[in-house]
């Protein structure tokens, strides 16, 4: 069967289980990024760009896991083996290089979330609080 068809079937099976699949996370991140960009197009705020960039980093770093979830970790391991030589993984407790790649990526995802929070906080600073708005008579 086609690789893409198999991946779609796997993704649907994951969605039917208790486990929230990686592609749902990815879609949520991209949707949130699109919303922030739409807001930026109206409000012209660099803080919103920073927040969207943070989400973009987190989504980008989650791509190996997305690939492994959809196409299987054997494929990802083959890719990781091609990408890095054995010295890169020396001393690692994992034998599966694909899972190790996913783990290493998960270690560097947090700055994205931090920039997302910081961007939203600073965008809040540029909004006028409700109590400060003049009362219309």
């Amino acid at each position: 069967m086609e690789r893409w068809l198999l991946a779609a079937r796997r993704g649907l099976r994951q969605a039917a289980s208790m486990y929230l699949p990686e592609w749902a996370w990815f879609l949520a991140g991209v949707a949130c990024m699109a919303g922030l960009v739409a807001w930026h197009r109206r409000a012209n705020s660099r803080h919103l760009v920073m927040a969207a960039g943070g989400l973009g980093w987190s989504s980008l770093v989650g791509l190996p896991q997305l690939y492994g979830d959809l196409f299987g970790y054997e494929e990802l391991s083959r890719f990781a083996d091609k990408l890095f030589d054995d010295a890169t993984w020396a001393g690692a407790t994992w034998n599966d290089t694909g899972e190790l790649l996913v783990y290493q990526c998960s270690l560097i995802a947090w700055p994205g979330m931090a920039f997302f929070a910081l961007g939203l906080w600073r965008q809040g600073s540029s909004l006028v609080p409700k109590t400060a708005q003049p009362v219309e008579s």
Binding site: L20, R41, A109
Partner: protein, 119 residues
């Protein structure tokens, strides 16, 4: 404990902290006049982080109390529950941003040839 283990714990803690800060920032956006979806989103994020960090906090508390832990702290479902809550956080953030944007007027944008038209 190896360096990778320490980095793993650190990055996990930083991730939880950033998610919590994101929740607080969403709450602040709502209080400052952005869409109400941000308020729901903020509480989802805070609840998600609380559920996510429960087992960790329980492990920390275990050093001080000699008592069997309730099953819901050790439950492996805490990961799933927090995943669903945080998923809702991001989806509602998107909704809030889109709804806030739709209330703002369209900003005039420079187009190719605008300078010639002005002259």
């Amino acid at each position: 404990m190896s360096f990778l283990d320490i980095l793993g714990n650190f990055s996990w803690g930083a991730h939880c902290l950033a998610l919590g800060l994101g929740g607080v920032a969403c709450l602040r956006l709502w209080k400052r006049g952005a869409d109400k979806a941000f308020a729901v989103s903020a509480w989802l994020a805070l609840a998600g982080v609380a559920v996510l960090s429960l087992p960790w906090m329980a492990g920390w508390v275990m050093a001080y109390i000699q008592m069997p832990l309730p099953w819901w702290i050790l439950s492996r479902h805490s990961t799933n529950i927090s995943a669903i809550l945080l998923f809702g956080h991001f989806v509602l953030c998107a909704a809030g941003a889109l709804r806030t944007a739709s209330r703002l007027p369209v900003r005039p944008r420079a187009t190719v040839g605008a300078a010639e038209v002005e002259e």
